[in-house]
């Protein structure tokens, strides 16, 4: 099936089975290897991308469903050399260690921060970040510095929903 989708702002077309996982389409057909496979079951979140702007597990979306839709991967977060605030803060605050979960977390957190879903002035901001990122498993960091980084990014972006 001929699938046309907008990936990181550019229209891409591929000839694949409509049952091919979006994760494999990105990694194998488009050679965008930033999105990772950690489990194949939708448990770990390492494969998180934005589908029409919202975070989803790309291992649980098939190519046919993406025809005509928009996908943002970790490769599409930065604006040229300018990192997204979430990326900058993850680096600055030690929120990335082995890095395999980092693209999924960066993508998910960027969407949350840009949509204003977690602002530090909300009383339960840290708990909210933890709830919204709970679909991304990290085994290295113990989560602490990631929460710090996401809130620091939210402060900078100051998105209003």
């Amino acid at each position: 099936m001929n699938i046309a989708l907008i990936v990181n702002g550019a229209t891409r077309t591929v000839e694949v089975s409509p049952y091919k996982r979006l994760l494999d389409l990105l990694r194998d057909d488009l050679r965008l290897t930033g999105t990772k496979e950690g489990c194949g079951e939708g448990e770990c979140g390492a494969c998180t991308v934005l589908l029409d702007g919202i975070p989803v597990n790309s291992c649980l979306v098939v190519a046919g469903q993406c025809d005509g839709h928009t996908v943002t991967t970790v490769e599409g977060l930065a604006d040229g050399p300018l990192l997204h605030a979430v990326q900058r803060e993850l680096v600055a605050r030690g929120g990335a260690q082995c890095g395999i979960c980092t693209p999924g977390i960066a993508v998910c957190a960027a969407a949350l921060v840009d949509s204003g879903a977690c602002r530090t002035k909300d009383g339960d901001a840290r708990a909210k970040v933890r709830e919204l990122l709970a679909g991304n498993i990290c085994r290295c960091t113990g989560y602490q510095l990631i929460v710090d980084a996401v809130l620091a990014a939210a402060d900078q972006v100051g998105g209003e929903s």
């Binding site: 409509p18 597990n57 469903q65 679909g135 991304n136 498993i137």
Partner: protein, 278 residues
């Protein structure tokens, strides 16, 4: 190669279902696509993502389109105001990425005994709306599950909507899920209730309980033990005992029969006591 059809609109979806009975009916895919790369390719995919959308409410009823995602349920004002326990349950399904895709109809059709959100629909006395090229019909949710992962959904039918009667003003609504961890977890035991207290006594009670049988259940024996009683600790204990006598949960990878039995009873007892303290 796998065929792929995407309906133009909801009516087209119903027609395509009849035309392609052996196609995989796919909406959110959060259950059907687990380990998809290891599964045999289906003959075809009928993609319902985005179909049967919409949440609305009138004076008596809340109507939820079958294709509504759990995230939409978690965030909709109408749900938060009128039937907040459905929003609470929605936020405990998997995690954000799953909620963004998983649909209420998918959950209903898969009909897992640990399907989150399903006990809430029992407690709220939901009605399932089905359609096929042969016409439309409704099934009360308490009659929809017919066995382990079996439902009343016909081979050529699609779920189009769920309607829920607006709970009486002052009704006590509660929900609790006990999962294997605090997020992204399978339920070990869960319960929901819609309880009405009038003149200091329980006038009506519905308890939906999950993960204690081969399907989500209405705890009729527990409801009978509640109606007419004062909502206090003693009634709570009686309700818990009635529930425990009426279910036979199992040991499995995630929990034990003993734990499920004890905690399921505790959840209902707590609902009863809390209803009395408002």
């Amino acid at each position: 190669m796998t065929d792929y059809v995407r309906p133009r609109d909801d009516r087209d979806a119903i027609a395509l279902r009849a035309a392609h009975p052996d196609y995989l009916v796919l909406a959110g895919g959060t259950d059907l696509l687990v380990s998809a790369h290891h599964k045999a390719e289906p003959i075809g995919i009928l993609d319902l993502a985005g179909r049967f959308a919409g949440i609305s409410a009138d004076a008596t009823t809340v109507r939820i389109g079958a294709g509504t995602t759990y995230r939409a349920l978690a965030e909709a004002r109408a749900i938060a105001t009128l039937i907040p326990i459905l929003a609470e349950a929605a936020r405990e399904i998997g995690a954000l990425q799953i909620q963004n895709r998983a649909t209420i109809a998918g959950n209903l059709a898969t009909s897992s005994p640990v399907g989150d959100g399903l006990p809430v629909l029992l407690a709220l006395d939901a009605t399932i709306h089905l359609a096929s090229v042969r016409g439309e019909r409704t099934v009360p949710y308490h009659a929809f599950c017919t066995g382990y992962r079996k439902t009343a959904l016909g081979a050529d039918e699609l779920i189009t909507a769920i309607t829920i009667p607006r709970p009486a003003p002052g009704a006590y609504l509660a929900w609790r899920k006990v999962g294997t961890r605090r997020a992204q977890s399978i339920s070990k035991v869960m319960a929901a209730t819609c309880l009405e207290v009038r003149d200091g006594r329980i006038a009506s009670a519905r308890f939906g309980v999950g993960a204690v049988a081969d399907r989500p259940i209405r705890a009729y024996a527990a409801e009978a033990a509640a109606v007419g009683q004062v909502p206090d600790a003693a009634t709570g204990a009686a309700v818990a005992a009635a529930l425990r006598a009426s279910i036979k949960p199992i040991d499995d990878l995630r929990s034990t029969a003993r734990y499920r039995l004890e905690i399921a009873g505790n959840l209902l007892a707590r609902f009863v006591e809390n209803a009395g303290q408002r």
